[in-house]
Symmetry: C2
Subunit: 461 residues, 2 copies
């Protein structure tokens, strides 16, 4: 149903502007900069041309079909534009404008008006009150924030749906730092028509999408949402950041999006029944989506830790073996045979006990040999590998080693601490779709998320 | 007692080398590169000169006093070097070499030998098995990791003591990304002689040090440690990351440093009695040390949140109002008067309820006005300000605004999400010693740490 939205032939910007301080200027500029190869139709009765493109007085004046119309007009004239778009056979409307149900009774009337126009038309609506879409595979950016303010991520494997526009933009900006890619970003806005469930239909069948991350503050219809995400999770992993967990934050959420949040413990139970991993903030959301998109599943929860820094191994063991930890992981008990083999690789003052400490003497080829041994130990379900650049024997070759073992063997999550070389390591791991994290805690929480989803899938099969 | 260690007149490197693969080469190189203005004496009988510096066959051949001798020799010849140093009147030894108590009975004998030499001498010892010191105010770097592998932080206000060398180096590398500075870094190593308590003596009276961060896996003497840190916390805040919390991680810690860890719940109780904030990983350690070094204390735990992105406000409220959250914070209830005043600043669809949402229309001058209002509300103890760069109205001027209010008013912690402009904002906040964090959760946990320490100090006074 939404396929044409993701690969449109043409896009109109209703409310396009020459004034650089207007959103209608930024959106047109983003669309032009993003390299969209289809037709772009600026619409504004005041101009005959904007940014070298022919400008139309009305959407009705465009000759030929329009796949998407992005509407950036004052709220009170949006219904007229919607009507014009429907008459002109526009397939999708993205209403950027705010000033609808989120602002009070008057806005609600405008919303209702638009909804009644849309109903029974062939036109579907995203928004209103949305920052827009970003579709890196189609070179489409209809968002209202300029490239000079935020970075947009490269094409990748995470489908990203956000009820909040700003949170979506800021998260995309943040993940761009490491080259973390997405398959598509959609800001739902007030989701008057199309909601998260229809986007899940699209992502489920989209071969580029390996996992989906959703930020939401409320669910439109709990029952159908539950059914939808349960089916989804049986195909692909879905991470949900549902904010508004406490009474006070639910109140804040209702002020923000105008929708009332549900009871959180009910929601929590629903998520785990449906197999969705829950994230509690913007960092966890993408951290978990990455490990779930890039990794095979974990048969169990027994983790081996491989490090060149003893302290990092100890902190990791703290988190993994903490009985009050959020996720049910445990330290793998290595077999005597495994330990004997590891001892042959490492220096005498290293440790063949889990966490395995190669000390500063651990080289990339030692990592290769120890990973080979761990991949054969049946009591190890996944390996947490630390690529720590402070020793002269660690280099970018560690990425090849991890990739080799991850491809044929068990899941591997990588922790990389530091900055100077660490940053390059993180970017290179990401480029190879190896889940790597810049902190001990984030690495381990992500392993926990992978185990949680794996356990759901193994029970269901 | 340790003052001369922190501003030495001369440093000898015993085991200095011309071979770039040797640690004795890296350390000498680091010391030269760091711009130390005192005398540097390479010691190695094989050379007459290294890096343009006169090389001495033995420490005994150096004419004039030696403040510090850094020893980088195979373990079995270290005792002889120690003896030579003591005879030559060297004040401080930093033994980089490993191969002592951490490796078994033979190493333990070497340790004992060194300890008996040191006792009753005028010479003090740091290490053995340490990566060295980094003293940015004295331009001294005796660490064994090259500047090509890790970054070293600029001069700042956090004293950093680590029992693990690698964890210390990696953490310094990580914080350098944002220009976070330290007053000194010491890796304790096996702490045969000088331990953390003596360094606390130094930091307590060091005017550049605003807070201290310690990574440790074991305490040498529980009772005296408790007394020492309690006194310290009554002067300055001390954050402790004590790893080895569980049975399994305590075992890993004992393999790492050779010292047995104590019962964790006892340790935990001791920390809170003594007023130390506990960190659970490398990120929390420096996050908490920063807010404690830069902020005045919080009279209570009532937080006002100021944002331009509703979703970020909702996630913040989740963490702050979660009754099961780690730190006891709560959302401030704004007075009617405060809300009325805020309503005059913000757009009609913004929120004057806490979290205060200025929406994308919120400008830097709106931030200024709202902060002014919040600083006068007696029911607000601290403000969490989000500087979010996705809107055209947010710019670097927000740093001036926050600085102005923070100087005269209540504590402010800043959250900055994103990357492109966010990174510049984070670096600039740090330069002004305003605690700013690149995530919702880290901002709020840091506020919690500030409250925890403030509560300890207010009870004790």
């Amino acid at each position: 149903m939404l396929d044409e939205l993701f690969s449109p032939a043409s896009i109109a910007i209703i409310g396009a502007s020459r004034d650089e301080n207007k959103i209608g200027n930024v959106i047109l500029g983003n669309l032009v900069s993003s390299g969209f190869s289809g037709r772009i139709y600026p619409v504004n009765p005041s101009y005959s041309e904007i940014m070298g493109l022919k400008c139309y007085p009305s959407v009705k004046d465009i000759d030929g079909p329009t796949s998407i119309a992005v509407i950036v007009l004052p709220a009170h004239i949006v219904p007229q534009a919607v009507e014009d778009c429907i008459r002109s056979g526009v397939r999708f409307l993205i209403i950027i404008s705010g000033g609808f149900a989120e602002t009070g009774p008057e806005g609600k009337m405008l919303s209702d008006r638009i909804l009644s126009l849309i109903r029974n038309s062939g036109t579907r609506l995203i928004g209103p009150n949305t920052v827009g879409l970003y579709l890196p595979y189609s070179n489409i950016n209809t968002t209202l924030t300029s490239y000079t303010r935020v970075s947009f991520p490269p094409p990748g494997n995470i489908g990203f749906i956000s009820q909040s526009g700003a949170l979506g933009l800021l998260t995309m900006d943040a993940i761009s730092e490491y080259g973390i890619g997405i398959s598509a970003f959609i800001n739902l806005g007030n989701r008057l028509d199309v909601d998260e469930t229809e986007f899940l239909d699209f992502f489920e069948s989209d071969s580029r999408t390996g996992s989906v991350a959703i930020y939401m503050e409320s669910v439109a219809d709990g029952r159908s949402f539950y059914e939808r995400i349960r089916r989804f999770n049986n195909k692909k992993p879905l991470v949900i950041l549902k904010a508004g967990r406490t009474k006070q934050s639910a109140m804040a959420a209702s002020l923000h999006t105008g929708a009332m949040a549900s009871n959180d413990s009910v929601f929590n139970g629903m998520l785990s029944q449906a197999g969705s991993v829950r994230a509690y903030d913007e960092t966890e959301l993408i951290d978990y989506a990455r490990v779930l998109a890039y990794s095979k599943r974990m048969p169990g929860n027994r983790i081996a830790v491989l490090t060149t820094a003893g302290g990092v191994g100890v902190i990791s063991t703290d988190y993994i073996s903490d009985p009050e930890g959020i996720k049910p992981l445990q330290m793998a008990r290595l077999s005597e045979n495994t330990k004997d083999q590891i001892r042959k690789v490492i220096v005498p003052y290293g440790s063949a006990e889990n966490p395995i400490d190669l000390t500063a003497d651990g080289s990339v080829s030692d990592y290769d040999r120890v990973l080979e041994i761990l991949m054969r130990d049946e009591d190890v379900d996944a390996v947490l590998v630390y690529a720590l650049p402070q020793t002269p024997k660690m280099d970018m070759g560690v990425v090849d080693v991890v990739e080799k073992h991850m491809k044929v063997g068990k899941p591997i999550v990588v922790g990389v601490l530091g900055y100077k070389i660490a940053k390059q390591l993180l970017v290179e791991f990401e480029r190879r779709k190896i889940p790597a994290y810049p902190s001990v805690h984030r690495s381990i929480k992500s392993l926990g998320a992978l185990y949680e989803y794996s356990a759901f899938r193994s029970v269901r099969q």
